[in-house]
């Protein structure tokens, strides 16, 4: 059975609140996998069902690659969460070299 046919995936997310944390840490979530789902879908799932405290850009996101404000890294590769398709287990982190506002949200995008 290849990894895409598994029912759930493990998603490791970088958590960081500069107002209380001295450094970032990782938190892992188990998310049901749906074919063609995007990273934004995964984050929405976690927010809605597992942990409402995670921060990722979505309040004005266009879902069309236009605003490019949902930029982050998946397994160290930069991409837009609204258009990056999920391939299996992954690590999601904020875009490097930007000041982190909280978790995956950075300043300046």
């Amino acid at each position: 059975m290849n990894k895409l046919e598994r029912k759930t995936i493990k998603v490791k997310i970088s958590r960081f609140d500069p107002s209380v944390d001295s450094s970032s840490r990782y938190q892992t979530y188990e998310v049901p996998f749906e074919p063609k789902m995007t990273v934004m879908d995964v984050l929405d799932y976690i927010y809605e069902n597992l942990d409402p405290t995670i921060a990722y850009h979505s309040h004005t996101s266009c879902h069309r690659r236009i605003c490019a404000r949902c930029n982050l890294t998946v397994n160290k590769k930069p991409g837009l969460s609204c258009h990056t398709e999920v391939n299996g287990d992954m690590t999601i982190e904020p875009l490097p070299r930007f000041r982190v506002i909280r978790d995956l949200v950075v300043e300046g995008l």
Binding site: D17, P52, S58, H59, T60, R64, I66, V105, L109
Partner: protein, 596 residues
């Protein structure tokens, strides 16, 4: 911990920072208003709930700019010289089912050529179609406007979620809201406010609009004492992609179907061609009436069980010859539109597959009530673009892009003139405290009603009862359910997230407070309008009733309660026929009236 959070978010009212005009909303209407107000010498602050040029509906627009052919010829766009402002005016109103405020339409057709020429002079990329439209893309519009705003060094505040209009002596005195990244509540004073925040499509679960369009400023205007208008009018864009998720909400098939392709039911039948009058089919595939007709037809197909598994229908290009597709690719080189590459979708469709599509909440004809000077019913408060109501009556057939330019400039002129006559007011202290308490209450509660769940419940009510086809039973149910949420759930709404910076739950909780006002206004208006007119379809009242319903529905807050009244539509030149007719008859009548 909870008390600490509470302490840290006392509202901050800046003594230092004040402006002649605050513009809320950074899409096309807000950007255009900012340019005009700046050039007229006002000090301005442009506020965005996202980022200027990177949020709002304008960037996602198809897009066209419409103007009359005669007016176009005068600015160098030739080919349709026999067309006139009078004809354009007439067409917008006939197809708006005469619910348009004709004074607003006069301004629209009058100013369209001048506003178009400015955009061309500012370097916007475009194609003139030789008739009544300039074709461009939302991204071009935004780039052109943002470039002009940057040149003027206009002050911009991004990621600021304005929640309320501050008032003093029944006039606008400033704004207050949440600085999303800081997690603080701030108030800023101004002599005049322009709202330019688009529609409230995001209250529905399926929409073509970007995040943030949840009607927050409609509710803010309403709470501050301004009237809302025709809130029952919602345009749905048919043929919007349901799946795959990366393309969900994309309107590209809607753009393609103007050129070719068919909408099929689950049996593969092109239902519009098979079941409707050939004239209706022709209108649906060749005019801007397509949104209304396709949405209605597709909704009926799904309702009778002939839709797709995800609740839509299918868009197919199976019968389109390949060389015709190659020609179309010249319009969208590499099958790219806006910033999305559709090559793999087109290839998949070429192999004979069909993509699942459905109507999506797309444009609001109703909104904050304005007159032809963009004045709302609250002194010092103006509204421009889609957030305002009345221009397009009950069916928009001309461009909403033209609307944002025309009304953005009108609002800026009015606001600047007003700001020169008044002095800066100190906002009402009591109101500030009330707003602060409302915004922060969900953070201080330890209760079980979560923003995530409540948001879902509200969307479900909108999807079920305020969709393409409505009926009295469903609308009454919607009103009762929303009232129950306001009474029982809203006072218990609780945010678990302790961090204040980018607190998504808190953003959702604040949105919910406004969403309920907007949706209740829409549901009550839809229930009151006991007829079908344009995009408002009542299965229990299928006739368009020009004898009784050439009236606007006005929603205001009176003594803390939502109050609905009606008033005759504003007519200047074009007298409506006092008759009643059904849906297909209405379209055929209108086509005859248009003489085309």
């Amino acid at each position: 911990m909870r008390d600490q959070a509470r302490q840290r978010i006392d509202v901050q009212l800046s003594d230092q920072e004040s402006f002649d005009i605050i513009i809320v909303g950074s899409g096309g209407a807000g950007l255009r208003a900012a340019i005009e107000a700046h050039d007229l010498g006002a000090s301005i602050l442009l506020m965005s709930n996202g980022a200027a040029g990177k949020s709002g509906a304008t960037m996602m627009a198809g897009a066209d700019i419409t103007l009359d052919g005669g007016g176009a010829a005068k600015i160098g766009l030739t080919g349709n010289e026999l067309d006139s402002k009078t004809k354009f005016f007439h067409d917008i109103i006939v197809q708006g089912y005469y619910l348009n405020n004709q004074k607003l339409v006069e301004t629209y057709v009058r100013d369209a050529p001048a506003r178009t020429k400015e955009m061309i002079d500012w370097g916007m990329k475009y194609i003139w179609n030789g008739k009544r439209a300039i074709l461009t893309q939302g991204t071009n519009l935004n780039e052109t406007l943002v470039n002009q705003v940057s040149k003027r060094h206009i002050t911009i505040k991004n990621d600021f979620f304005v929640t309320d209009i501050l008032t003093q002596h029944n006039s606008a005195a400033g704004v207050v809201g949440l600085d999303i990244n800081k997690g603080s509540v701030q108030a800023i004073r101004a002599k005049a406010i322009i709202i330019a925040t688009g529609g409230w499509q995001r209250i529905y679960s399926f929409t073509s609009a970007p995040g943030g369009l949840t009607g927050g400023m409609h509710a803010a205007a309403y709470r501050a004492g301004a009237a809302l208008l025709n809130m029952e009018m919602v345009t749905f864009c048919p043929n919007v992609i349901l799946w795959p998720p990366a393309l969900r909400g994309d309107i590209f098939p809607y753009i393609l179907i103007e050129m070719f392709g068919d909408l099929l039911d689950k049996h593969g039948r092109p239902f519009l061609r098979d079941e409707y009058d050939p004239l209706i089919y022709h209108i649906a595939t060749t005019t801007e009436w397509n949104k209304l007709i396709f949405s209605l037809a597709a909704t009926k197909i799904v309702a009778r069980g002939d839709g797709s598994p995800r609740g839509g229908t299918y868009y197919s290009i199976k019968n389109v010859p390949l060389n015709i597709l190659d020609e179309a690719e010249k319009i969208y080189p590499g099958w790219r539109w806006l910033r999305t590459d559709f090559t793999s979708l087109i290839d998949w469709l070429k192999q004979g597959n069909a993509v699942e599509v459905a109507p999506a909440a797309h444009y609001m004809e109703g909104g904050i009530a304005v007159d032809e000077h963009a004045s709302t019913t609250l002194k010092g408060l103006y509204a421009a673009g889609e957030c305002s109501g009345g221009l397009f009556g009950s069916n928009r057939v001309a461009s909403a892009i033209t609307q944002i330019f025309v009304q953005g400039v009108v609002a800026a002129k009015s606001a600047v003139a007003y700001s020169k006559k008044v002095r800066l007011a100190t906002p009402d202290e009591k109101q500030l405290k009330q707003v602060e308490s409302r915004l922060t209450a969900p953070l201080t509660r330890n209760d079980v009603v979560r923003a995530v769940d409540l948001k879902k419940a509200i969307k479900k009510i909108a999807d079920a009862n305020l969709w393409v086809i409505r009926n009295g039973t469903g609308l009454k149910k919607a009103v009762a359910e929303l009232e129950s949420i306001v009474r029982n759930d809203l006072p218990r709404l609780s945010v678990q997230t302790q961090a204040l910076a980018y607190n998504k739950e808190w953003i959702d909780a604040i949105e919910i407070q406004s969403t309920l006002d907007v949706l209740l206004a829409s549901a009550r208006s839809a229930l009151l309008r006991t007829e079908s007119r344009g995009v408002h379809n009542r299965s229990d009242f299928p006739q368009t009733d020009n004898k009784h319903w050439l009236r606007e529905i006005v929603v205001r807050q009176v003594n803390g309660k939502m109050s609905l009244t009606t008033r005759p539509v504003t007519i200047t030149k074009l007298k409506p026929p006092r008759v009643m007719f059904g849906f297909e008859e209405g379209i055929i009548r209108a086509v005859k009236e248009l003489g085309e």
